[in-house]
Every structure is written in C-alpha cells, then in structure tokens.
C-alpha cells in the first residue's frame, strides 16, 4: 500500500481542502478564502470534486439511468480524482502555488462507506493521494443543512440525498437518513486523519476569521502584492 495520504508532501506549494456535507457552507468559505489569498498576492488554484471532463460523461449517463452501484460510484469518483490530482493539483503544487480543493478523498471515505463499500478498500484505493497541509471540516447539524439547501434550490439531488439506496421515497427524509450516516463517518475521519473541525452553524464571518487564522499558520503572509507585480514586468 502507498502511504502518500499519511506522509507530508514535499512540493513547494500548499494544499488546503474543505470538507463537509451538502449545505455545510464549505464552498462559501472556500471562495472567501480564495479571495483573501489572492489579495495577499498568492497564486491560487481552485479544484472541485467530480469535475474532470473525462469522467463527466460516464457519471452523467450513470446518474441519468440510475445505473451506478456503490462500487462503480466509488471508482468513478476515484478516476475523476486521479485525473485532477495529476493534471490540476500536483502541477500547481510543484509551481509553489496554493491549491484549494472543494472536497477531497475524505468525501469518498465518508460517502462510500455509508453506501456499503468496504472502508479499508476505499482508503487503499485513495492511497496515491497527496496529503493536504490543512483539512477543514465544516460540521453542521443535519437540520441546518437541509434548511439551507431547501431555501436555495428547493430540490435535493438524487445521489446527494442517497436515493439510490432506497431508504426512503421522500427526498428530504432520504437526505436526512443518508447524510446523517455520512456525518457519523466524518466524525471518525476527524480523528483518523486529523481534520480541523469548524462548527458551521455559526456566522459566516466568524467562521472565515477562524479559517484565515488557521491558513495563515501555513503560508507566508508577508508576500506583498508589489512583488508579484515586479514578476509580471
């Protein structure tokens, strides 16, 4: 087994990831963090879970036909991750940039285990991943996340609600059951991989203050905007 996920990486750049269930507010926090880091003169690259062009087609076909099993769901996401790791994450890290990942391998550990895939198998599957310099886990009570999602787009997505598992025919009920289990898995991951917990029920500004404090311990904040201007001449 490879041990990349448990050993610190040796790239000059920094990798920060945000984790949490849907409606935890992690994407909002990541966007604010990106703004701030850029303003501080850092070169920032953002990458999202399940976004590579290569597997998008297959995921779409699978989702539309409701044809994905827990195993193929897991493997497709790992394929997407491998593709992004090698083309989108490692190159900027080598170039000394800051990479911000919206979800990371921990999402797979939490979701796939909830779907009934062997926990150890998923960990071994992702053992080629680069260990993040900081992993922020936005922990939110299930009712808060449901309220946020319903207020925003009214309709819960099929796989996010765990409808494929057939636990309930009501999307809201299914979401609560499924994401409730996902939350339990995340609780184990906090210990196992040293995720930094941020209580996500609090105000956006308070959370962001904490995020910036934690990140500033990892990156040099003295880099001035003028310096990067010099470079661009």
């Amino acid at each position: 087994m490879l041990n990349n996920l448990t050993q610190p990486h040796e790239y000059p750049g920094k990798l920060f990831v945000v984790e949490g269930i849907d409606g935890s507010g992690k994407t909002t926090q990541l966007a604010l963090l990106a703004k701030w880091l850029s303003a501080e003169g850092h070169r920032v690259f953002v990458t999202e879970w399940n976004s590579s062009a290569l597997v998008k087609a297959a995921t779409k076909t699978g989702k539309k036909k409701n044809a994905l099993t827990p195993m193929t769901f897991s493997l497709l996401h790992a394929t997407d991750f491998a593709d992004r790791l090698l083309y989108k994450i490692i190159p900027p890290l080598k170039a000394g940039m800051v990479v911000l990942a919206d979800r990371y391998a921990y999402t797979a550990f939490a979701r796939d285990a909830t779907r009934g895939v062997d926990r150890q198998w998923v960990r071994e599957l992702y053992s080629f991943a680069v260990r993040p310099d900081l992993s922020l886990y936005f922990r939110v009570p299930i009712d808060v996340s449901v309220d946020r999602l319903l207020a925003r787009r009214m309709k819960l997505k099929f796989y996010e609600a765990g409808m494929d598992l057939g636990w309930s025919t009501s999307p809201v009920e299914s979401f609560k059951l499924f994401q409730g289990k996902v939350l339990e898995e995340y609780d184990h991951l906090v210990q196992e991989f040293g995720l930094q917990v941020i209580e996500a029920a609090g105000s956006i500004t308070d959370q962001q203050r904490l995020v910036r404090m934690l990140v500033s311990q990892q990156v040099q904040m003295t880099r001035s905007v003028e310096m990067s201007d010099d470079e661009s001449i």
């Binding site: 087609a57 099993t69 493997l75 491998a82 090698l86 198998w121 053992s127 080629f128």
Partner: protein, 257 residues
C-alpha cells in the same frame, strides 16, 4: 474430442490451502455476499492476438450443445464505461492511473451486473480476459503492484484461469498475418520509439513477463498457444468438463437413439 468424464479436477488452492474459486480475492463487496452460488467462472487470458476469442467461441458452442447456459463477458464491454474509454483512448489524454481506474470501473460494472447475477442463476460464465490483463498492463507501466492487488480485491477468483502462452516471435507473425499491429497493443503510449514493430515486440515481451510472473500467484493453467486450435480446444474442454458437477451433466437425449 476426449471424453470429458476421464478427467479429474483439482480445486484451485488459495494462499491458506483452501479453494478461493467463487469467492472474493481480497476485500469483498460487503453488500454482495456471493458464497455458494451454483455457476462457474472460466477465464481465458493471454496477450493480444493469441487466439482467446476463437477458443471461447468453440467452448461456448460445445457447452451449449451439452445443455449448459453460457454467459460471455469481455474486457471494456460495459455499457456504462465503453464510450468513456473509447473517448479517452482516442484523445490520448489518459495518464496511467486514470487508465487503471477506468478499467476497474468497467470491471466492477460487469461484475455486479453480468457476472454475479449469472453465477447466482447457475450459468457458466466465460470471460475473455480478466483482471490479469489489467494487472499486466499496469505492471508494465510501473503502477504499484500492491496497490493494484488491493484495488482488484473485489474480483471473484475464477474456477479456472487458462493462460494462453506464446513467444513474441510467433505472436508477431500471427498478428501481422491477421490484422496488423495497433497503437495500444504495441505500447506506443510508452513512447519507447517510433518503430511500431520494435515497439510491439518490446511491449509484448514485457507483458508476457508480467503474465508469467502471475502464473503461480493466481494458479494459471498454462496452455501452449502455438499448437493448433483443435488441440488447444481439446485441452480446455477436458479441464472445463472436470469442473462441471457430474450431476449437472446432461445425459444424451433418449430420443436420439
């Protein structure tokens, strides 16, 4: 053809001396317990152009004439993944890790949707290639061997793995006589040189090395693929017949006499 009842089968032993056939190699799919399924899984492995599909066709005909239900499966034939794999191959953007994972996804899809249901229903499953193809190709490309074995731990150990063994010289001629050498079978993605003939030979030589290094680990029945189609088929039938329960063997129909 040899009388099938003459042959006797020896169960494929696992690492602990017990037969693994019909069970998961490693970490299972927890939501799919498969113990005690009546079907049988026979695999024909071997490199490109060695004659696997011809042998499978003949096996299938023979089995169906004898009254066995047969399901065939191949490599990269799942409806879910085939379009994606074709796109990826033609656009040449695959790195070795995504390559491996795409094939594993395809395999998982076929395992859950074709192979396991067929075994459950008592079919004979004939697989043209199996995980060993993936292990050999990825092994040649330098992917971590232990990681690969963990990845494919959810595969079901076949009742028999026939390995059609051949030398590079015979293989090269056979491939050139039939359909010619193609980009992937020549390992051109490894960029060892522009000459397809040299590349084919070097790549197939490393593949054959990978296969033979797996022969003991996975209990391959090594078959000399340089012999005639009929001789090879005789041997395959003899070994397959020994694996089919005598009680399951259909008797000759009485009306025929």
């Amino acid at each position: 053809m040899t009388n099938p009842s003459d042959a006797s089968a020896s169960e494929q032993p696992g690492a602990n001396g017990q037969s693994l056939a019909g069970r998961y190699y490693g970490r299972s799919i927890p939501y799919l317990p498969i113990d005690g399924y009546p079907g049988k899984l026979f695999v024909v492995e071997g490199t490109d152009g060695v004659g696997r599909s011809t042998q499978i066709q003949l096996l299938r005909e023979w089995l169906e004439v004898k009254g066995y239900g047969v399901v065939e499966t191949g490599w990269t034939r799942s409806p879910l993944m085939q379009p994606t794999i074709e796109i990826a191959k033609s656009s040449n953007t695959l790195n070795k890790l995504t390559f491996v994972l795409l094939y594993a996804t395809d395999f998982a899809d076929r395992l859950e949707k074709e192979i396991i249901p067929a075994l459950k229903a008592g079919f004979v499953v004939l697989s043209d290639r199996y995980i060993f193809t993936a292990l050999a190709r990825a092994g040649v490309r330098g992917v971590d061997r232990q990681w690969l074995r963990n990845l494919y731990g959810f595969a079901i150990a076949p009742h028999i793995v026939f390995y059609l063994n051949i030398d590079v010289k015979t293989l090269s001629r056979r491939v050139l006589e039939s359909r010619g050498m193609d980009f992937w079978e020549s390992g051109m993605d490894l960029k060892t040189g522009d000459d397809i003939y040299d590349s084919f030979r070097a790549y197939q030589r490393s593949l054959l090395r990978e296969y033979s290094s797996m022969a003991d680990e996975f209990h391959f029945r090594v078959v000399d693929a340089r012999r005639s189609i009929d001789r090879i088929q005789d041997e395959l039938r003899r070994q397959v017949a020994a694996y089919l329960e005598p009680a399951e063997k259909p008797t000759e129909p009485a009306l025929a006499r």
